[in-house]
Structures are given as structure tokens and as C-alpha cells.
């Protein structure tokens, strides 16, 4: 496990779709480094051959249901929260370049 520097924070911020100013980059790089130093304590434990736990309750299993048509949420209700909508659609800024 490694620590984290400013350029790594910048890369991770981009992956997270966040823009951070120079001051924020410094702040987070310092804080994340100290958090990761603490977290690195996990290396003290030998986990060879230990299965990972993704959900703690083992009685959970995949759930299947019949593919039947049921009423869903009202389109008008759903679109009422949209920052921008047109007809039955969410409206977003241009995705493909050019006109």
C-alpha cells in the first residue's frame, strides 16, 4: 500500500467528476494521506486464504421474479424533479460534438 500525493488526488478527482482548486487539492492530499496511513494498519493481518465478505448475512441469495408487466412510477411525477425536461425525456447538454 502506498500513500497519496497531490497529482494522485487530482487524477482521482477527475475519475469522481469533481473539480478541485489548488488549495482543496493540498487539503485533501494531506488529509487522505493521514487517513491512509491509519488504514494501512490492515497489512498487519495475514489474510491469505480468507474469503472476502461482501454482505454480512449469509442467508441472502440472488432474487428472481417472474417477468410480468406491473404499473411503474408515473412519468409526470418522475420528470417533475428534472432540472430540464422535454416531452417524456430528461434534457441534458450536448453530448456529441458538432451541430
Amino acid at each position: 500500500m502506498k500513500s497519496i500525493d497531490k497529482s494522485t488526488v487530482k487524477r482521482v478527482a477527475h475519475l469522481s467528476r469533481l473539480a478541485l482548486g489548488d488549495k482543496e487539492l493540498d487539503l485533501y492530499a494531506g488529509q487522505l494521506a493521514s487517513i491512509l496511513t491509519y488504514i494501512n494498519k490492515l497489512n498487519e493481518i495475514n489474510t491469505e486464504g480468507v474469503p472476502p465478505t461482501s454482505h454480512a448475512i449469509s442467508s441472502l441469495k440472488n432474487v428472481f421474479r417472474k417477468d410480468v408487466l406491473k404499473p411503474s412510477l408515473n412519468t409526470e411525477d418522475v420528470l417533475s424533479n428534472a432540472p430540464q425536461a422535454e416531452g417524456d425525456f430528461f434534457k441534458v447538454p450536448q453530448i456529441i460534438e458538432g451541430k
Binding site: Q31, T53, D77, Q84
Partner: protein, 480 residues
């Protein structure tokens, strides 16, 4: 009649049946209480008097919680009611559906009165990361109420509601319950449907009640527990009437006390209160056993990989497309995502998204996320081994009483360590409760945590009720 707001729900149900009290008396008295003290406590994001009055007039008087005012944490959806998770990015969001717990409460006759303040997206242990304002501890207004369900706990403690619901990912129900001197239960993972709970960390989140006593906690869980086809992680198991587990003695109960919880950093007064509680249990006929949970020291590290990793993935949905905030100016789609998220998320949310994304990114996944999941297995096994020799485990809930507002804001790690005793239950998926067990010399509440095997909330209620009925910490009220 004046003091209806200070009663428990079971006392009010009795008064509704035989005491000449009307449900509207209760609601109006609670509304009056909120209007007179919430300026100081700031537990509410909003009180919706109109909706509550209308809903009461149409509510079923045969329901188990008929006429009981309930406050919901602001991450639980109620159709048409603003639900923001304490975040700017969800300002104005009115869900097109209600959470299953909200529906079940209303079906039982309860009256939803509004939304409780919380740390943004439940990221925090102090209620200071809310986009609105910090909630204050009713016992000392310059101190934090705990978090993230700080508004829910403070509202119950200050009698601004009879019952509240919160959510608990690493202690977010139990830690504020402890710091505010109320009862807070995190049920077993899968016991309560999470449909309509805005997700934080999906392998850890669970909804539970904050109440004035243990009987109310058992009543609420009996109403909200159970399988729901809208949440495939809710388990198909019958729901008992938990009030049948309320027994006043502890004869034959085997209680484990883990040595790893009594360590440096544990406040002396908290330690003394918990040790006193152990003596109470012995006097009530319980057998107290020393146990070991050897991986306790690794729980916070494990949690701060698993929880932010899952959170960074869950929070990807806040992109300005379907609901909530969208940045006013952007040149294209990616730019819109970036500006929207940078403007909408607060400092702690950004910190957790960065940490989670880092732990999941190429080259780090095995070293962090997978490693943490393996250590999680060890922590879970610790509990499985412990429960071979005891029926439940008791520990402090929080290492210290409530700290001052602002005290830990600039040191995220010290904030994270305030959940050191509550996090293991989430990682192991087991149920746990916090009940009042004393006060510091300066009058701050101290909480006792009781943990049991998965789906054994009955033992928790038994142990909690026996202690509560033989002590009177739960009867004290803050002066407001």
C-alpha cells in the same frame, strides 16, 4: 394534558384508549413543543403541520401506533415531501414514492411530522456536515448531538417528537442516541426494508428507531421489520412481536464483555458507567463472561475502505440529470457533471468520494477494497466465536460523551474514531442497541451498547429492558 409531548408512545396509546386524550391533542402539543424549543436545538429540517393534520384526520384508529407523531431522518423518502439528505445537491427533490418504512408507519396509524437534520449523506458523527446548520445537543447547546442521525436523536431527547427513525451505517443511530441520552436500535442487516432510503453504503446501511425507552423501540421494530419485495436484501423471516421479549430480570442471561473495548482513549467517566452497568446485570442474575474480539482494532480501517468505496459508487447517481441541483452553465455533458457535483457536494462528501474512488481504482482495488473485505470476514468470525459462549455482548457505545461543536471538524480521522465501538456491528451485520446508562459530572448522557446474534433482536430487547427498568437514567430530561 400539557406534558403529552414528554410521554412515550406506549403511555400515549394507553391514554388514547382510557385517558380521555384525543390524537389531535398529542399532535398539537408536539407542534407547540417544536415551535417553542427548536430555535435552540435545530433538530428539524422542516415541520409539516398541514400534512400531519391532514394525515391524522385520515389515519386508522385501530393501528398499533395510532396518533403517534414520528419524525423521519432527511434521507428517508416521503412522496411529495422534500428529501435532501442534508445536501445542497438534492435541494428541492420531492420523491415520487415513499420509503417502505414511511408507508408501514402510516399504515399503523402513526403521523409523520417532518424531517430531521443529519450529516450530509449521513457522512459524519456530529451533524455538522449538514448543508443547513449544525443541530445542537439538548443537554448542552454548545455541543454536538452526534451523527449522522443527530436531528432524530436530539428531537427525541428534547421531546420534539415521540419517535424518530434514523439510519445506521457505522453507528449513525447508536452514537447520537448515546450522546443525547435516548434509545437507538440498529437492527440486523436485512431485518428492515431499505426501499426509499437514499443509499450510503449498501452492504452496511440499516434503518432503525430512536425512542424514549426500550418498549417503544420494540413497538416500532415490530411495525417496520419484515420482507419487502422492493428491497431484495430484506430477509424473508417472520417478524415476532418484540414487546413479548420485555422481561424485567436477567436471570440466566450470559453477557460477554470484550476486553478490546476497554482501551486507551476510553473516557474515564464512560468506563465507570459501563462498569457500573455490569454490576447491575450481575445483581439481576446475569452471568458476566470475559470475552475477546481480537480484530476490533482493525474495524475502523476496514470500515473507512468499505464504506467510502460503496458511497463513491452510490453517489455517482447525483449528476444533475434526473433530479436535484444542476450547474447553471456548462459547455457539454462531462462539464455539467463536474460543475454540478463540485457545487452540490460538501467538504466531507467530497473527501469520502475521493477516498472511495481511490480505494476502488485500478492498481489499488486488491490492496484496499479486497483486503478490507477479507478483514471484514475476520471481524465477523470474532463475533461468531464470541456468541458460542454468550447470548449478548455489552460495551460502551461511544468512547466519550458529546464533544464541542467545531472541536473535531478539521481533523477527519479523530471524527472517524468516534465510531470505534459501533462500526463492528455494521461490518458483521449484527443487531445492536444503545441505551442510557449514566451521566458525566457535567450532566452529559452516557450510553451502553448491547449486541446480539443476527436476527436475535429479542435478546437485545430483553437485556436492554431489564437494565432500564432497574435504573432511572432514561427518566432524566434536559432543561430547555
Amino acid at each position: 394534558m400539557e406534558k403529552l409531548h414528554s410521554y412515550t408512545s406506549h403511555k400515549l396509546t394507553e391514554l388514547l384508549k382510557n385517558g380521555g386524550v384525543k390524537a389531535s391533542d398529542i399532535l398539537e402539543d408536539v407542534i407547540k413543543r417544536v415551535e417553542s424549543v427548536d430555535d435552540k436545538v435545530r433538530a428539524f429540517v422542516f415541520l409539516n403541520k398541514d400534512r400531519a393534520r391532514i394525515s391524522l384526520s385520515g389515519s386508522k384508529d385501530k393501528g398499533r401506533l395510532y396518533g403517534i407523531p414520528v419524525l423521519l431522518k432527511d434521507n428517508l423518502c416521503v412522496k411529495g415531501e422534500e428529501t435532501t439528505c442534508g445536501s445542497k445537491i438534492l435541494k428541492g427533490f420531492k420523491p415520487p414514492y415513499s420509503a417502505t418504512v414511511a408507508r408501514k408507519l402510516e399504515d399503523a396509524g402513526a403521523v409523520l411530522i417532518g424531517k430531521a437534520n443529519m450529516d450530509e449523506f449521513a457522512f459524519g458523527s456530529s451533524c455538522e456536515s449538514s448543508c443547513y446548520y449544525p443541530t445542537r445537543n439538548p443537554w448542552a447547546l454548545d455541543r454536538i448531538p452526534g451523527g449522522s442521525s443527530g436531528g432524530s436523536a436530539a428531537a427525541v431527547a428534547s421531546d420534539e417528537t415521540i419517535i424518530a427513525l434514523g439510519s445506521d451505517t457505522g453507528g449513525s443511530i447508536r452514537q447520537p442516541a448515546s450522546l443525547c441520552g435516548v434509545v437507538g436500535l440498529k437492527p440486523t442487516y436485512g431485518r428492515v426494508s431499505r426501499y426509499g432510503l437514499i443509499a450510503f453504503a449498501s452492504s452496511l446501511d440499516q434503518i432503525g428507531p430512536l425512542t424514549k425507552d426500550v418498549e417503544d423501540s420494540a413497538r416500532v421494530l415490530s411495525v417496520i421489520a419484515g420482507h419487502d419485495e422492493m428491497d431484495s436484501t430484506s430477509v424473508e423471516m417472520p417478524v415476532p412481536d418484540y414487546t413479548k421479549s420485555l422481561v424485567k430480570d436477567a436471570k440466566g442471561l450470559r453477557i460477554g464483555v470484550p476486553k478490546e473495548y476497554f482501551i486507551a482513549g476510553l473516557d474515564k467517566e464512560v468506563e465507570a458507567s459501563v462498569k457500573k452497568a455490569i454490576e447491575v446485570y450481575k445483581a439481576l442474575g446475569a452471568k458476566v463472561i470475559d470475552i475477546s474480539l481480537p480484530h476490533t482494532d482493525y474495524a475502523v480501517s476496514t470500515y473507512y475502505i468499505v464504506a467510502p468505496a460503496e458511497a463513491s459508487s452510490n453517489l455517482a447517481r447525483f449528476d444533475g440529470v434526473q433530479y436535484g441541483h444542476r450547474s447553471a452553465e456548462s459547455k457539454d455533458m462531462i462539464d455539467m457533471y463536474i460543475k454540478t457535483r463540485s457545487e452540490g457536494f460538501g467538504t466531507e462528501a467530497k473527501r469520502r468520494i475521493l477516498l472511495g474512488t481511490y480505494c476502488l481504482s485500478t492498481g489499488y482495488y486488491d490492496a484496499y477494497y479486497l483486503k478490507a473485505q477479507k478483514v471484514r470476514t475476520k471481524i465477523k468470525e470474532d463475533f461468531e466465536n464470541a456468541f458460542k459462549t454468550c447470548d449478548c455482548i455489552i460495551t460502551p457505545t461511544s468512547p466519550t460523551p458529546a464533544f464541542k461543536i467545531g472541536e473535531r471538524l478539521n481533523d477527519p480521522l479523530s471524527m472517524y474514531l468516534s465510531d470505534i465501538y459501533t462500526i463492528p456491528a455494521n461490518l458483521a451485520g449484527i443487531p445492536a442497541i444503545s441505551i442510557p446508562c449514566g451521566f458525566s459530572k457535567t450532566g452529559l448522557p452516557i450510553g451502553l451498547q448491547i449486541l446480539a446474534k443476527p436476527f436475535d433482536e429479542e435478546t437485545i430487547f430483553h437485556a436492554a429492558y431489564a437494565f432500564e427498568q432497574n435504573t432511572d437514567h432514561h427518566k432524566r430530561k434536559p432543561a430547555l
